[in-house]
């Protein structure tokens, strides 16, 4: 119980800090909207073309927006040695991981919740469906689970943005590919049964990387 109490306190602290500054949500949202608009102009008004490229565009946008968001997550902790402040508190490293992960997940889901309707409006595609929502939530969980780990790893390096992208994107490539394929099926109006193989892989990725990241976070964060 103490574990969750402390993890949620970290999430709440990150949320409160974000409400005050809006640094992550604002910068990532501007980036996301810009990419959507640019893609919209690039691919013109052909509905067939849109349907073909939309799943890839959607996940390229979310992947890069996610990297931007995750980069910010631990930078806040480096300010005035706050990460060290957490490290000298009687809290398990795993609770720090869960707290930071839940905060990043919340921010990503808020950004996606704003971006998806805009995407649907500009591309005139049935994006606001239960299928797409489930794919988005499941993929984001796996994405953030790995991203929080790598964000903690990268924060102590000089070129942290580059390090995060180089290390993180190859690891999450499989889940992004699955999300693209599942989204393609969903946007084509295929039944649930055609989505399940992809959702199973995404679910397995989530489970494996949540457990692995949870277990090795302590080694990553220790000096």
């Amino acid at each position: 119980m103490r574990f969750w109490h402390k993890a949620i306190a970290i999430t709440w602290k990150d949320t409160l800090s974000e409400i005050r500054t809006r640094e992550i949500i604002f910068s990532v949202l501007v980036f996301t909207l810009l990419v959507i608009v640019i893609f919209n102009f690039a691919f013109g008004t052909s509905q067939e073309m849109m349907a073909l490229v939309a799943p890839g565009m959607l996940w390229v946008t979310f992947a890069f927006a996610g990297v931007l968001s995750l980069n910010r997550s631990f930078i806040l902790e480096k300010e005035e040695g706050c990460l060290e402040g957490l490290m000298v508190s009687p809290i398990s490293r795993e609770a720090i991981y869960v707290g930071k992960m839940l905060g990043s997940l919340l921010f990503m889901l808020i950004i996606e919740a704003i971006a998806l309707p805009i995407f649907a409006f500009l591309f005139n595609l049935p994006i606001l469906s239960l299928q797409i929502v489930i794919i988005t939530v499941l993929t984001t969980v796996g994405f953030v689970a790995v991203g929080t780990l790598f964000s903690a790893l990268a924060v102590n390096t000089k070129a942290r943005e580059m390090v995060l992208s180089i290390l993180f994107l190859p690891i999450v490539a499989p889940i992004i590919i699955c999300a693209v394929k599942a989204s393609d099926s969903a946007l084509s109006g295929e039944p649930w049964s055609s989505l399940f193989p992809w959702l199973r892989i995404i679910g397995a990725f989530d489970a494996i990387f949540l457990v692995v990241s949870f277990l090795i976070f302590a080694y990553v964060i220790e000096e």
Partner: protein, 245 residues
């Protein structure tokens, strides 16, 4: 090193053969040190002498490469989380979130330390450091000295038995230091054990029961304040500075 008539249980801190290395560099080199309950030990030394590394090992942020380190009778390798609940740490960095108010920061840390009666305790520690009037201001709007006072309040929230202070006087106005030192040293009847690292020789002489000089990861001088050989201390201090340069 063990004092006559004492037992190992009496030590607040007990270090035997502590070594800490980074790649090929030896930051602490076979360090031995015992600190009694309620004793204040001031550690001097040039930059790179190993002072901060020693504090980090005691604070369980870093694992020793070899040797035994007991804090309040607990081993830093096996009981790190329990030790963290018994120590307070103040460094030149405040560990405070600039976007949150002083109260929100202290409430957050009191949750981390499972402090009971949080609201009352926050008001108590803030009063101890003379920051009551700025409790609901954002930390980012406070001066450096005020942030450092708040950092001291943060470290006192859970009534730690042992204080680890790594150059804590950063930004503090000189008049406030004795008042803050008093808050750090005692609470009620209880005198805390203090390990303080500083470059300020005069301040250290005022504050410590025992004075140490660390150089190249080794203790090169130690003596109690009562039986202080000031000339010897100054010579050892200046020598360690010269050796470093």
């Amino acid at each position: 090193m063990e004092r006559p008539g004492s037992t190992s249980q009496a030590w607040a801190i007990e270090i035997q053969g502590l070594t800490k290395s980074f790649s090929n560099k030896l930051a602490l080199n076979g360090l031995d040190l015992e600190v009694s309950q309620g004793e204040s030990v001031v550690i001097f030394g040039p930059n790179g002498a190993g002072k901060t590394t020693l504090i980090k090992v005691l604070a369980t942020i870093m694992n020793p490469t070899s040797g035994t380190v007991l804090v309040d009778g607990l081993n830093v390798k096996h009981n790190a989380e329990e030790i963290r609940g018994r120590i307070g740490v103040v460094t030149h960095r405040t560990f405070l979130y600039s976007n949150l108010t002083a109260y929100e920061n202290l409430e957050f840390y009191s949750r981390m330390y499972d402090v009971s009666g949080r609201k009352k305790r926050i008001h108590e520690v803030v009063a101890m450091v003379g920051m009551t009037s700025r409790l609901y201001d954002r930390v980012g709007t406070l001066s450096r000295g005020m942030q450092q006072r708040l950092s001291i309040a943060r470290s006192l929230l859970h009534k730690p038995a042992i204080m680890l202070l790594d150059e804590p006087e950063t930004g503090l106005d000189q008049q406030a230091i004795p008042m803050l030192w008093n808050a750090l040293e005692t609470e009620g009847e209880r005198k805390r054990t203090i390990i303080l690292t500083t470059h300020n020789l005069e301040r250290g002489l005022e504050m410590g029961d025992r004075l140490l000089i660390l150089n190249k990861g080794k203790i090169v001088y130690q003596g109690s304040r009562q039986a202080l050989d000031l000339a010897g201390l100054k010579e050892a201090y200046q020598h360690s500075m010269r050796v470093r340069v």
